[in-house]
Amino acid sequence: MPAVQETIDRVAAIDVDKYKYGFVTDIESEKAPKGLNEEVIAFISAKKGEPQWMLDWRLEAYRRWLTLEEPDWSTVSYPKIDYNDLYYYAAPKVKDAPNSLDEVDPELLRTYEKLGIPLKEQEILAGVRKQGEPSELDEAGESNPYGRVAVDAVFDSVSVVTTFKDELAKAGVIFCSISEAIREHPELVKQYLGTVVPTSDNFFATLNSAVFTDGSFVYVPPGVRCPMELSTYFRINEQNTGQFERTLIIADKGSYVSYLEGCTAPQRDENQLHAAVVELIALDDAEIKYSTVQNWYPGDAEGKGGIYNFVTKRGDCRGKRSKISWTQVETGSAITWKYPSCILRGEESRGEFYSIAISNGHQQIDSGTKMIHLGKNTSSRIISKGIAAGQSLNTYRGLVRANPRAKNARNFTQCDSLLIGDKCAAVTIPYVESRTGTAQFEHEATTSKISDDQLFYCRARGIGEEEAVALIVNGFVRDVIQQLPMEFAVEAQKLIGVSLEGSVG
């Protein structure tokens, strides 16, 4: 079945005002008291069994945060968040730490099942996923063999189950929750945590440093090609819980890892805050590919509810010839504020950013990337596809900078916007700063509308209007979809259809 057909099936299966993932799992949770103060931070740290140095690190961040002002420079607007009216810690009650899926709360597994995430797929978990037939079509995701995926599922704040740990361990790859890493691999965490996104970085990152509760940790040793895609599904479940994930990925010399992050959140009346920090470090000749499909609840038809997503994602190409590539598909959240960035420090290092950002209804997206060229002969590439429908606002904000030592820095940027209807808007704000005469920066931007002729052509062939829009949009974003690992490409194509539902007619 072509992905487009699945998209339509999926659209058809969904009620206009009912977000598919808007259900609540009833699991007893253990919460920290509401509000934020040093006791709450100590509570979180104690819950995690953290050493003193970690608590000190958090407290230092907290004290700094108290001196910071919330940023207001992006184009998004939202009611003021009362940081003392949130819970900063909520863990599903675990009777005994689960070793296998059998021991995981069945209620939780049912949640994942509803989400349709691969955790439930026994063959994947067992590592015996069917090898599909070779692709007859060159379309991303059609009849492609599924690779194996290791899943570190994050349910609210606690990483519940980690699969494939053993096999990864054999390869020397460490893939665990950040809490576990703090306990089991303190030397690595101490060496790298906060070296890409310092505790002082920005309002949300500083807050995250003080109160982060969980997230993933990956270390790939020198020369190792990680034997499988690593994947985390985030999910916000507890009412009024801020999510403060912290992810740290280190690719040591000559290693390679591909990491997938996916998110869905249940429906909520009140806006929920999500302020994650992701740090990537690539040493000499290492490569990290980080892919995100984000479809958090965007709010109802009037824009009420929905997730506030204020994320700091940054990769440091610290080594020579290292490479970091961000690919993102953003379809959800009421508000997205997100700029996955690359610091191109190592000579000849390369940064890439591929993005699809879809806004519909009343969503506001302010996203883009920063490519900071520090080393000689560094290069970067930015492909951004923004799709605005309904009454949404879709802003691309990008910065490409070459420092004086970044001789022969090269960048290619392409920003394409597609408008559906006439009540939405797309804005492109590219900043370019070159402090070396030898830099070569190229920028291309286009804005287009789905033309009536295209729609009629599709309809005259029997394709209904909504399906035609999904088809045309999937074509528009094809360059980026092709960057995604197969598992995600299919999901992304479905999401595109779902998120554009009701955008025509």
Binding site: M1, P2, V4, Q5, E136, L137, D138, E139, E142, S143, S451, D452, D453, Q454, F456, Y457, C458, R459, A460, R461, G462, I463, G464, E465, E467, L471, I472, N474, G475, F476, V477, R478, D479
Partner: protein, 252 residues
């Protein structure tokens, strides 16, 4: 199959409403091939577009019936599923959408609308290969985004390939011959001829008698001034080729 009676249609342009079709009558029975010829701007494409269901034309009078159904009440995709196919005079580019994907989406959408089962990938591949081979369309072409960067002739050939795959009941060909080289004209005509059957009808819009040497029509009509001003057999096309439209333009 198709019955058009006293069709009046107009468009809104900068200066106001302009009537383009002014009382057009046309009847096509199953298995028949009708050719429509006429000067530029006569309303030939307008007729094709109205049959296929394009927005922007207002039908002020008259009726269009297809297999006893009121065609004007149907959405374009419903018409396609019911068996109407328009080979566009100017096929539209859809960037990033592989021809193969487009075809599969279209075919399965039509099948679903008719309550038929969707084709599996192997079944579809077989069907598309059959159609592509018939029209000399290379596999490589099927992987490219539909119509994007296709030459004029390739676009036309692609339209007929789609027609062969979708197996419509009424095929409207809008100047499919223009832009085709001599060999392509023959291949496309053979493709069309192989689809001729007692159940399938054709409405062939063309400026050139040459196409009608290959696709022999049962009837030839002259569309001028928004009406069919003369109808006849294949010999009428030859006459037009020799004499032009001057007499009809005066009459209109």
């Amino acid at each position: 199959m198709l019955a058009i009676e006293n069709l009046h249609a107009s468009v809104e342009d900068g200066e106001g409403t302009r009537e383009i079709l002014k009382g057009l009558d046309l009847e096509i029975w199953p298995g028949e091939v009708h050719a429509i010829m006429g000067p530029n701007g006569a309303g030939k494409s307008t007729l094709g577009n109205i049959i296929a269901g394009k927005d922007g034309y207002e039908v002020t009078e008259g009726s269009v019936k297809f297999l006893e159904e009121d065609l004007l009440e149907m959405e374009p995709e419903e018409r396609a599923a019911a068996g109407i196919f328009l080979a566009f005079q100017y096929p539209v580019e859809v960037p990033g959408v592989a021809t193969m994907t487009f075809l599969k989406t279209a075919l399965n959408a039509q099948r679903e609308a008719r309550g038929e089962k969707a084709l599996s990938t192997p079944e579809f591949m077989k069907a598309v290969k059959g159609a592509a081979d018939k029209l000399g369309v290379k596999q490589e072409m099927l992987r490219r985004p539909i119509n994007v960067g296709f030459s004029g002739g390739e676009k036309k050939r692609n339209e007929i390939m789609q027609m062969a795959l979708l197996e419509p009941k009424l095929c409207v060909l809008d100047e499919t011959d223009s832009g085709l080289d001599i060999d392509a004209l023959r291949i496309v005509s053979e493709g069309v001829n192989s689809l001729r059957s007692p159940e399938r009808s054709f409405l062939v819009i063309t400026h050139y008698q040459r196409l009608l040497d290959y696709i022999e029509p049962d009837f030839v009509h002259v569309l001028a001034g928004g009406k069919i001003v003369r109808s006849g057999g294949p010999e009428l096309a030859k006459e037009l080729e020799a004499r032009g439209y001057a007499e009809f333009l005066e009459a209109a």
